[in-house]
Every structure is written in C-alpha cells, then in structure tokens.
Symmetry: D3
C-alpha cells in the first residue's frame, strides 16, 4: 500500500487505441537469421495490428476534486503520443524504429518514454508507473514498474 | 513470491457489476471552477455508468479445499457492498458521497473499505489486497496495495 | 442476398459509445404500479449506464472507393446523435423522454430515427436498416429491419 | 424459420483471426481525391489491423452427429483462406487487391468468395450464408445474405 | 421492418450464462467412427465449457411501459431453463441428451424449445424468434428464425 | 522498476485457451461437508469450463531482436502444458488432480509449475513470474509473484 496508511493513494488507468503497420527485420542479422527468428513477422512489406495502450498513473487522491489526475490531461497526452504512431508504418514513418525492431516490447518502451516526457511538462503530482501495450488480445507487454 | 517458497499462496479475483448515476460537483468550488475541472461530468442531473468491480483476495491455498477463500463467501460480501450502490444515484442516495465527489477514485476507495469491513466479520485468513473499479472499458482505478 | 447476385452489396456496422442517467417512471401509472413494473429502475433520482450504439448501413459497394459509405460521414452523424444523449440524464435533459419512458427500446428507437434524419441530409445511397443499442453486455435491443 | 417447422435447421458461426497491413489508395483518382476520401488510411506505406472473420454456415442438423457441419472441416477451410491474408500487406502481397482498394467491404467479399469456393469442394450440405469481418471492435462489414 | 411502418416494433436480447460438462459420443456409431468424427470431444469422461445463451424476443413496444417484454419475466424464464443445465454433465444429468449428442446445435435447440414453452405460460405478446448459444467466443449456433 | 534504470526490462504476457471438465470433491471430507463447501461444483459427473491461461515472463529486452523471449518458444511451451489439460476431465484424466481438488487455485499452480519446468529446459534468460488462470470472465487466480 503506497501511502494508503496515512493518506489516500490510487492508480488510475486509461486506455487508448491505435493501428500501425510494422515488420520485424534486423539489418545486423542475415536474411536466414531474420527468417528463423521473426518467422511470419519477417516479410518485405510488413503487416499490422490494432494496438491498445494502457497508461498507469499513480498518486494521491486530491481531496477537493477526488482525482489522482484530471482525465482531460491524460487524454491530451495520450492523443499526442498515439498521434505519433496511429495509421503509420512503424518501420518507415516513425524515427524511433529506424534503429530498433518494432516489437511489442520496443513499442511499449517508446510509449512509456513519450508519455513520461509529456507528463513532466505538466504540474500533476501523479507519476506514470508503467504502460501495458496489447498487440492483440492474446499478447501484451508491460514496461516500467513491474 | 509471497510464501510460495514454503507453502502455497495465491490471489483470487472476483468480478461484480453495478450501475449508478453520478455527478461531479464540488460545492467548495465556484460554478466556473466546477465546469472547468469536471467538464461534461458537471451537469445538474448527472449521468451514469455500468461499473465493474474486481476484488483481489490473497492468502494460503487450503490444502483440503484447494481454496484461498470460499467463493460463496466472497459473493455474499460483494452482494452486500454492490447492493449499497446498484441502481442508485451516488450523489443523492449514498451517504458517503455527500462529502466526496463520486469519482472513480473515490468509489473505488468506498468499495475497498466496505469489502474489508465485511471480510473482517468472517473467519477467512484471506486478505483483501486491492480493488479495481472500471467506470468503463477504457478507464479504471486500483485502490489498496498497488 | 440483397443484390449480391448482380452487383456487390454489403452492410457496414459502426459502434459509438455514450453514458446517460435515466429513471423508469410512467406518470400515467400509480406509484405502486411503477414500483411493480420497473423494480429497481424506479428510484427517484435514477441511475445510469454506458450505452453502446451500433448503426447498420446497407448499400452497394462503390467500385471506385470500395465503400458502402464513407466512414467519416458515418462518424459525423453518430457524433451528432450521441452528442444529444451523452453525459445527460435522459428524463431531465432530453425532450424526447419527457413523454416516453427511457427504456432500451425507446432509446434505440430515438437513435434509429435521429440517424435516419441525419443520413437523409447527405447524398449517400446507403440506407440505415437497423440499430442495436446495448444497455449493458447482457441486454440490448434491435430497432428497424429485424 | 428455415425448415424448423418440419426438420431441424441451424446456423453455425465460427471465428478466425488474421493480421494484415493495408493502404487505401485508388490510382484512378487524383492524389488530392485519395487524401480527401481516405484520410489517414491514405499514407504511402500503409498501416494495419487485427481482423476477425466470422463465417456463418446454415443447414440441417444431422440427427446422427448433431452437427450442421463438422467443425474440423470449417477450421480447415478457414485456415486456407486466412492463410492467404495473415501477416501480409494486402496491397502488395495479395493479387485480389491489386485491382481493388482493400476496404473492409472488399476484404469481406474476398473472404466470402474464397470460403464458398473451398466449401464447394467438400460434400457438406451446409451453405455459407454470410461472413462478418471486423477491422476493429467498432467497425465491421457483413457480406452475403443480409 | 416488422410493423415499424405502422406501429413500434423491436427485438430485445438477453444473455444468460451457464457451465456444463459434455462428451460427444454416438452409440449408433463404431468407436473408430466416433473418434474420427468427434476428435478431442470424444473422450470417456468428457470436458466442459462456459456457455453463453442469448434469447431474442420480438414484439410491439408497449406505449405505456416502453417495453417489448418485462426484463424480470425474461430473467425468470432464463433462470428456469439454464437451471436445468448449469453445473451439470449434459450426457449424464440432462434427459434430453440421453438420445442426442450434446453438440452446440442440439443444446441451442433444447434452449429454444424450453424458453418457448416457458414463455407460452405467460401473457406477453412477445415471441421468441431465435436463440444464440456460444460454446466459446469463437463458436456459436443460432436456432430459430435465421 | 526492475533494471529499467540501467538497461531495458519488460514483462511479456501470452494467453492460451483450454476447456476441461472438473468436479470439486474431497474424499477426506464427509458427503455433507463436500456439499456444503463446494455447493453446485459438487455433483457426481462434474461440469466444465473454458479456461484462459496467461503466462507472465520477465527479462531484459534483447537489443538485437527487441524481444524478452521469442514468442514461438512461449507458444511451444504453452502448447505442451495446455495439451495436458485441454478437452480432459481433470479429476479422471490428469494425475495431478488425483490428490488435489481441481479448483482454479490448484489448476493455476499446476500451470505455473509445468510452464516453469518447460521453460528451464530452454536457454532463455526470461523468467516466469506468475500465471493468471481464468475459470470464467468473473473469476480468476494469480499464482507466483503476486
């Protein structure tokens, strides 16, 4: 319990949706190794997914507003971050994935860092503790405090 | 791992559903501040949601019954607690929200405290570690051990 | 099969979400009859739900665009219609429910009629055949062509 | 009721999942028209989705097996058809979408026709009446008997 | 549109849940044929599922109550019917499946007939048009008006 | 944060599905005690469920592949483990449940141990931290690191 002994502490989670194309390809590896490691995710033009992003934000419940953080502020941040990914082909259109394979792990890491950067521009005492990124309903990654 | 080295320990989660009306309004603030902070949630007669409540209960697995806690006992407790909220208008009908804005954070806190009170009346060694309360599929709050 | 012998015909469905407060109360009936017929839905200040609205639109697939109707047009219409309901208390804030009990049946009928009115202002050959309105995941109503 | 007066008739539905990249682009239109009609779906390298395909098969219930059609046969057909789409970029890798924009409508039509072709190779009396194709949980298309 | 030209007509759907054990076995067939037709569903002690039953009820919207049928009446009927199946092993505990293989098709037929029988005992003008029975989220059967 | 200060660390989750029959029965207890403790889960031939198993695997993100663990390896392990349970009656067909009541708690423990055994045969640095096992959408158990 993080502070719930003394005051009131809670974690708010918010979902956002975006769709991307991607391809698993590591130029430092041979074609054969790429094929073996990445299987059907290694194809020239890529494929794509409907991603679901969950941001977890922790902090004291403001006794006046009853909120950990104003949802309108969370939504504004998520709109910025998912706007950099939505309806794009990660390998071609998003600079962060020039150097890294756009796996669920790396896309989750990207989202965590970008949300954290945007959150720090504001004045909220809430902290981003982790993100969860679903590539589909049967596969997801948690990044941050595990 | 909480005790899984020595014995068998697990966490059981149970869902319950309820529907409420609510309105975000803080009398200590001006009408203008209420409108700015609470946006569309600030309207005279309120609106409402289908809430989903998840209770997380942790304890040793009884070697005889194979259970952390008997599900019939959990359901009896959740029936009492959701019965105080279901098909009610939180601001008008539930005393706890006379003093507090019925945000997801505060409704989660209410549920945590009430489940804990009811659980302590029984003899189960299981502890309520946290609750998760969904206001909708894209917004929820965890309260308790985070 | 509606025209699929000769040309290409399809039905597109689009979901939209909104949250409302409501109360089941029929002034033409006694208090006792209201209580007996409407049960827990009959309480003075009401409760509320997260509604999900599905609009079903049928028509030929345009051979150039591959579309029955442009999704941007559907979304614009649904935004207008759900905007008349979202974050409101149906009994107090929506004139259509001054005269009618805001049951799932009547809210579905309202949505069907309003979408149809908005659709007819445009030039799309697609027709609204029905709507489906979910009050929760276990209860919904279809209105239109059944 | 299709024959349920005399015998026993039912419709079986089966779901399958696949993920694709795609791009909305019609070479017969100007760049400006493409941008206006297809919006964010018109980008050079495309994006992608997790599709869900539902096949609806109708026929008499065999009194011996209790089945409209053997599920193993349905799954074999769906594996063939989704195998032609899964983890591919529709515009580049699937010949049917060289000539047609890979909208949900056109992908649904492709699935209907291919399932029907495969089904006709077998001996089952069940008929494919329609398919439903979800591009995401808020958008889908029915093709076939509507 | 069923009467929506003249009056108001709608279809209400209600979900109910139950869990059963079952085994696919046809004594009129050889062991080998049972194994070939029923695959993993043919094992001596059976396996089981969480079923979801949807009942579709159609009729005029009562102008006074705003209802096709009172939900309390629907729930009472569904409680009776699912009570004959829930937490039972269909092959051993439910007489209807002494003679018939408990496939999704046959369990759907059972539910349709039993709901219809119970509905006819009441005075509601609403008719059961069909049921949908899910064996899991990827397999279901519609029985009745298709 | 587990190592995210220095390097890159993440948790990958993968879902698998299986269906079983089971019965709650403890021979060390009287018939009366069995009935009282296990309620409707205590019936001679048992009932069954669609289980969903989630495996949580934690480790460093490989900078070359962008992966915590190769999904093909996870799927191979889950296929082995769920293959020992799927379409079986736990009490009769799975030796582990000769001695233990097949509650959600005990089936989760079985899955955790078996996945861990299989994982240790491979060379991945990723660790299984916990499993989550759903008996249905309203009841589940976490076993491992809580």
């Amino acid at each position: 319990m993080s502070g719930n002994g003394s005051g009131d502490w809670a974690r708010l989670a918010r979902r956002a949706h975006f769709s991307c194309g991607h391809r698993y390809y590591q130029p430092a590896l041979s074609e054969e190794a790429n094929r073996e490691i990445f299987g059907s995710c290694y194809s020239e033009h890529g494929h794509g997914h409907n991603y679901i992003l969950e941001a977890y934000l922790e902090g004291p419940i403001d006794p006046l507003t009853g909120m950990v953080i104003n949802l309108m502020d969370v939504d504004a941040i998520l709109k910025v971050v998912t706007g950099e990914l939505d309806h794009r082909h990660l390998n071609f259109d998003v600079p962060a994935f020039k150097d890294e394979v756009p796996t669920t792990e790396n896309v989750a890491k990207f989202c965590f860092r970008r949300i954290q950067e945007e959150l720090e521009k504001g004045a909220s005492p809430a902290k981003l503790t982790s993100v969860r990124l679903y590539e589909n309903e049967d596969l997801w990654v948690d990044y941050g405090k595990l």
